[in-house]
């Protein structure tokens, strides 16, 4: 037997090679894998807790409080997968101590994974440190196998118990919170309608057939829209999720609330959920967007129930730093989907272990899972009116829809083809939801709002994705409101409106006596009177924290305003653009270089005046 650095030495309680059984070898590998995975996972959970609760480090890593129990399980799954071939090898090669090799290997893996949590440390430095820790642990374990076996056993039992306790605590906390919130509700007004806010994440208006898209992306919504009011020119207040949702929830413009790149929505303003709860409504949020709307980003405030991530094994693996690494993901794909060991080894050799924390590296709920969760919950609160918020992530990159949609729209493989298919999938899922509500006799006594938080770019203006400009592609969103007793069927509203006014509109339609601090103005007058105006359609985008140089907010904050005919945009570098968006909806002709350029100061002044005005109108929402 040799020491970790190659020197010969004796080991007091190591078995001679001839006396090691295959079962003992295999047992040692799995014991070491389990113990090291639990230690690594619990350390990961501790770092996440410090970042989330002590440092308030938002949008840097997965922030769910459930990380405390999901990360250890995720590491156990990953380490167990690695333990299978290692155990098979060491069951045959019994002259090598499995305890020593496994403790060294999994110790290295746990230390490497842990160091990857710190983004300023280079992955090769993390590897060096991990290997160093592994070599030291291997030396120690090899010298005292029996003692280490007993110690690892104790660690495995204690780690498992702690993980179960953390799961129980977090789950119990959510259950108790919901029960307390529901039991504290006052009596709801007689005949109060339900409110169902459906946000189709990343869906731009121009890609819906309801808004004239060439492809029939929303046939069912086209039909459903005949029963309510469709807003032809609704604008979001921001081109990305958190500030846009926060605006809808509070009735504030983006810069009038705190939800932004590194800060959650704070408790300074009332939210739709808290106001409806104060009138006796049961409240629940079901979100599939795990990047900017999970619990902890402030959007969950006021909800009795808030469901975000799935409790799937895949999501638990994605919670780990290794699960976020490109090499691990690609190796897994090569092994499981393509069954190609050569490619898997090449992926490992590429050595890309920087955790990505990007959109595909999660296991979000599909539209059908979101609607099922909501319908299950709704059954349990029958007898009370409810306010429910549903976020659908299917049309967000990577634009995934079930395989049965693959051949739709020519089966093309461009991002825009996938995007259109995912919108069609959403259309089908929404129709099923409405059919279920109708079958329960709930649909006509429910205020249904369908909208989006922002759009998406597919090369327009030389840009892709979102959160990098304020063009129509990102800020012009669908908005449809259905409530047969108050909203006239088949209405098209032509005025430019802001999603900022959604909160006041719901207060108005729900006949709540007071918005209790929610900002904005009801949109109800706009569907009766084509001259009625509500809040200015202002959109804002703060300078990015780490933007791509092509992003128009790379140099500074951006602002935009759509009036009755023109869309004014001030970019981060101070340049301005003006588009006649009604006759040039794709915004291809910038009018700011001509006579319209003189309008820029007036637009700037109007934006400043509006944003400087108190967000809370201080009066009940206007009624028609």
């Amino acid at each position: 037997m040799t020491g970790p650095d190659g020197g010969a030495r004796t080991t007091p309680d190591a078995l001679p090679p001839t006396r090691r059984s295959a079962a003992r070898q295999v047992g040692d590998v799995f014991l070491a894998a389990l113990a090291m995975a639990l230690v690594g996972g619990l350390l990961h959970a501790a770092v996440s807790w410090v970042r989330r609760d002590l440092l308030r480090d938002l949008l840097r890593t997965w922030m769910s409080p459930d990380t405390a129990w999901m990360a250890p399980i995720g590491y156990v799954v990953l380490f167990a997968a690695a333990a299978i071939p290692l155990a098979a090898l060491l069951a045959v090669v019994r002259r090598v101590s499995a305890m020593r090799v496994a403790v060294g290997f999994f110790g290295m893996l746990a230390a490497f994974s842990f160091v990857l949590l710190f983004p300023r440390l280079h992955q090769y430095a993390a590897l060096a440190l991990g290997v160093g820790v592994g070599v030291r642990l291997a030396g120690l374990a090899g010298a005292r196998e029996g003692a280490w076996r007993a110690g690892l056993g104790r660690i495995a039992v204690a780690g498992t118990l702690l993980t179960v306790l953390l799961w129980g605590y977090q789950t119990g906390k959510n259950v108790v919170h919901e029960r307390r919130a529901l039991s504290a509700l006052p009596a709801a007004p007689d005949g109060a309608p339900n409110v169902l806010l459906l946000i189709l994440d990343t869906v731009r208006a121009s890609s819906l057939s309801l808004y004239g898209a060439e492809r029939t992306t929303t046939p069912k919504l086209d039909d459903f829209a005949r029963s309510g009011a469709t807003f032809d020119w609704a604008f979001s207040t921001a081109p990305w999720t958190l500030p846009s949702h926060a605006s809808m929830f509070t009735g504030r413009y983006s810069s009038q609330q705190t939800g932004n790149w590194t800060t959650p929505l704070d408790g300074a303003h009332a939210t739709l959920a808290s106001v409806f709860a104060s009138y006796g409504y049961a409240t629940a949020g079901f979100t599939a967007n795990l990047v900017a709307t999970p619990r902890g980003f402030g959007l969950d405030r006021g909800f009795a129930r808030y469901e975000d991530h799935r409790r799937s094994l895949a999501q638990m693996v994605f919670t780990t730093s290794l699960g976020q690494a490109t090499s691990v993901r690609n190796t897994w794909d090569a092994l499981v989907r393509q069954r190609w060991i050569g490619r898997a080894l090449r992926e490992i050799a590429r050595f890309d272990f920087e955790p990505r924390y990007s959109y595909p590296d999660n296991d979000p709920k599909s539209a059908e899972q979101i609607t099922s969760s909501f319908l299950r919950w709704q059954t349990g609160v029958a007898g009370r009116p409810y306010f429910a918020f549903l976020n659908f992530f299917d049309a967000h990159g990577p634009y995934e829809s079930p395989a049965r949609y693959d051949t739709l729209f020519g089966g093309g493989d461009r991002a825009s083809d996938k995007y259109d298919r995912s919108i069609r999938y959403l259309d089908d899922a929404l129709r099923s939801l409405f059919d279920s509500l109708e079958a329960r006799g709930e649909l006509d006594r429910t205020i249904v709002v369908i909208t989006s938080d922002h759009g998406e770019q597919f090369g327009e203006h030389g840009l892709g994705w979102h959160s990098n400009s304020l063009y129509e592609q990102l800020t012009h969103v669908p908005l449809f409101i259905r409530y047969p007793s108050r909203v006239p069927a088949g209405t098209r509203v032509a005025q430019a409106v802001s999603l900022r006014d959604l909160a006041a509109t719901l207060v108005d339609l729900g006949a709540l006596p007071d918005g209790r601090g929610l900002g904005g103005t009801s949109l109800a007058p706009t569907w009766h009177d084509s001259t009625a105006r509500a809040s200015d359609a202002i959109a804002e985008l703060s300078r990015g924290v780490n933007p791509d140089r092509t992003a128009l907010n790379a140099m500074g904050d951006m602002r935009a305003l759509a009036d009755d005919s023109l869309h004014f945009i001030r970019n981060g570098n101070g340049t301005t653009e003006i588009y006649a968006y009604r006759r040039d909806p794709r915004e291809t002709q910038d009018l700011s270089k001509g006579a319209h350029g003189a309008l820029a100061p007036a637009f700037e002044a109007r934006i400043a005046r509006t944003l400087g005005a108190p967000a809370d109108s201080g009066r009940p929402a206007r009624r028609p």
């Binding site: 020491g3 970790p4 650095d5 020197g7 160091v115 710190f118 300023r120 440390l121 280079h122 090769y124 430095a125 993390a126 590897l127 060096a128 440190l129 991990g130 290997v131 160093g132 820790v133 070599v135 030291r136 030396g139």
Partner: protein
């Protein structure tokens, strides 16, 4: 391999790599230090 500002290791990475190196060769390093210390003290 891409070499740019993002690929340049910050100071913490250097320290981490050095710590890893020390851990990997701990016995040899400790042995070498002891050897040098013994030689130094015997010369005196």
């Amino acid at each position: 391999m891409y070499i740019g500002p993002d690929a340049l290791m910050p100071l913490a990475s250097v320290f981490a790599a050095i710590a890893g190196f020390f851990l990997m060769f701990w016995r040899r390093i400790v042995g070498a230090v002891k050897h040098i210390a013994t030689k130094f003290s015997s010369k005196r």
